[in-house]
């Protein structure tokens, strides 16, 4: 296990170096000049030249990259082109919001997805199965943007149950939970649908397996068969999906953050891209990449807990 973690750590470092290089180069090659975005359409040629000079954009791109990496190695992610604020400060003030949102969405997704999937599998071809597979298909297809807006109109504007936007109260308070519920449903629906489909199909496979038939033949109770013998074995692929989804949720909060006016990393990233704020784009992309790797590592560790046959040493 320790070996796995150390190995993954080195992979992570290499991966981040690679990603930083690709992001740096793609920002540099993409059309759009940070200086002209900062200056806006009203800036004159000399205004823009002065801004470029100020940001150090006149240096050769490789020099810029090495300057940047030199700082990163020393733990300094640089300063925003736009606001001159420290990139790490900007990220860490917003990260808790994104993390709360992603975890809450995952909770929604797992509760809804796993239970719907298991019931569907046990009651294959029943009305519940048919309707839950239909809902799952819809859940995957509905765009977040539309779902979020509709939830706001129904639950916030018409019924007045939840606030429309913002996320600033701590998640463990009533106020904080109210702020989280609609965004979590919006973001979690697609994952819930995916998890439901996955759990249904693996569960179906498992309950047809020989050892389940043997267990039943031995007269083990249905409840015990499902919860003790089937579920644990059916969960391994489901956990993969959950892990992948969680990584994707952390990086995919952008639209939900936009719609619900949540001050998170996704919005920070999209604003930075629009403003060609290179250091901020770098910082946010590196964070999301690192999180993805860490989440995957955690999933691998959970595998070996669930299935003792899996060992990494």
């Amino acid at each position: 296990m320790i070996g796995l973690i150390i190995r993954r750590f080195f992979q992570l470092v290499l991966l981040l170096i690679g990603i930083s290089f690709i992001v740096f180069m793609s920002m540099y090659l993409a059309p759009g000049d940070p200086a002209s975005v900062i200056g806006g359409p009203t800036a004159s040629e000399s205004d823009i030249a002065a801004i470029r000079e100020d940001l150090g954009l006149n240096k050769p791109v490789l020099v810029q990259y090495f300057d940047y990496m030199k700082n990163v190695v020393q733990g300094n992610l640089g300063y925003s082109f736009q606001t001159n604020q420290s990139v790490s400060d900007a990220i860490f003030t917003r990260f808790p919001n994104t993390l709360n949102l992603a975890i809450a969405s995952m909770v929604v997704a797992v509760i809804l997805g796993v239970s719907a999937g298991i019931i569907s599998a046990i009651k294959q071809n029943s009305w519940f199965d048919i309707s839950s597979t239909t809902v799952a298909l819809a859940g995957i297809s509905i765009p977040n943007f539309w779902l979020g807006t509709m939830l706001i109109l129904l639950f916030s504007v018409t019924l007045g149950w939840f606030p429309v936007g913002g996320l600033n109260a701590p998640f463990y308070t009533i106020e904080g939970m109210k702020q989280l519920i609609l965004p979590a449903i919006t973001l979690g629906t697609a994952s819930a649908a995916m998890i439901a489909r996955m759990s249904r199909s693996t569960m179906l496979e498992v309950i047809r397996a020989d050892y389940i038939r043997t267990a039943k033949a031995k007269g083990v109770k249905q409840k015990t068969v499902i919860w003790v013998h089937a579920l644990r074995n059916a969960m391994i692929p489901v956990i993969t999906v959950i892990g992948m989804n969680f990584g994707a949720l952390l990086g995919g909060t952008i639209i939900t953050e936009q719609v619900f006016a949540i001050n998170g990393v996704g919005r920070l990233m999209i604003d930075a891209i629009a403003a060609r704020d290179f250091p901020m784009v770098q910082g946010t992309v590196l964070l999301v990449a690192a999180l993805f790797v860490v989440v995957n590592l955690i999933v691998d560790i959970i595998y070996s807990v669930i299935d003792p046959r899996i060992s990494y040493d």
Partner: protein
Amino acid sequence: MKKKMKVVLFALLTFAIVVVAGCSGGASSSNNGESEDVKQDITYAATSDVVGLSPIDTNDSVSTAMIGQIYETLFTRNPETMEIEPLLAESYETPDENTWEIKLKEDIKFQDGTDFNAEAVKYTFDQFKDPERAAPRASLLEPVESVEVKDEYTVVIKTKYPYGPLLAALSHQNASIVSPTADKEGDINSEPVGTGPFVFEEWVQGDRVTLKKNPDYWQGEPTLETVTMKVVPEYSTAVSMLETQEVDFIDGVPSEQLSRLESIDSVEIQKREGTPVYYLGFNMEKEPFNDLEFRKAVAYAVNTGEYVDQLKGLGIQNDSIIGPKVFGYKEEAKDAGYEYDPEKAKQLLKDNGYADQKITLLAANTGSYMKMAEIVQAQLSNVGLNVEIESMEWGTFLDTTAQGNFEMTFLGWTNSTADGSELLYPNLHSDNIGSSNRMRYNNPEFDKLVEESRTSVDQSVRLEKLNQANLVAIKDAVWIPMNHGVVSAAYDKSVKGLEMDPTGTWSLYNVSRE
């Protein structure tokens, strides 16, 4: 099996009920209801965060909106008369064409206690012009040669050449006076200090800016206790928040949200003829767009009235490039363009061999530009042109158009100084080809008129020169104005005294809640 299912269903149902019940208790916390003493607070929703709070170091509309509450300028344009009046200045004289001697109001202090005086003015403008500081709007004071302190309350501004729009430039929000102490000792971008009615309290980046009243404000303290700017990137979310009273006020209403806003009982909408102009422009260095006959044909083919109708009162049709609220506009420019006549357009295209001409319309995928592009595409197709739309993200668009890599495109100009010279010079004078003169218009006759409008300090001469320059550009059909802006705000009915400025800004000094 059945029992199991019941248990799971029951668990799910309980979860759902707990969630809903736990959350439906109590109304929205920011809803104050009709209580007797109304809290004198206001929350404004902006679609993006401020870039910073220093007038020297920023140049975007949200920052400008907040800067306008914290800082003040030497002069200001009266939103009713559009005349320039002294604000922090007391009076001014022009002993000669290149010298402006400005007397300042006395006994005004910055919010940090620093005295407002000639030193502060000199310090601010020197910083503004300093290439090291790289102020994004440094060009505003480009004609200024030097700023000198004559005595404690008199500054002398010398210009490189006679500069007519100087007072308009000094009334621009970016030319606000900053506290020298605060700027030297800290970062006024994150801890701003001005002389205005509201004092900075907090900026949570990406989320909100909070201001509180300045009890020592020199014109008397404002009624509002606190001002909060909340970042709400999605306009439809902001409208919902206005409806549920989570925010009190939004501005820049897009036409597609207008009917929804009008249907909300608690909301009042203010519209006012403003200074922005939005146009269809030609790349004057590419064929056939450099041919006047071709541009005339396009101008005849485009029915701007049809577009303005879709704006539902949030735009005004006028052929003039200089808008009716901008200095330099004369009534005769109103119909000086080429009136919609598709038959004439077809004839012109045929006579000049441009029938079936292929055109690419470039449009930024922000604001109303895509809508303009779609309407113009249909209208130009009607006269036989073969039109494609290319849409582009804003940052890419700015770069592409500055480099001249387009055929025809749409853009706007907010005219923050409400002075025609500040519209025609950056946008259409040949000095600015390669940057803000995106259409690459180069007409010596026009250039000369614009220069004369800038270098005269006689306002009646300036008006005449600007009018002439305007007529030349209209006849040249270099821009086809799609619409002149209507500035707008939607706010809760309890908000009283909010007045939109034609440039799209607003002051909260006279605002109160009832």
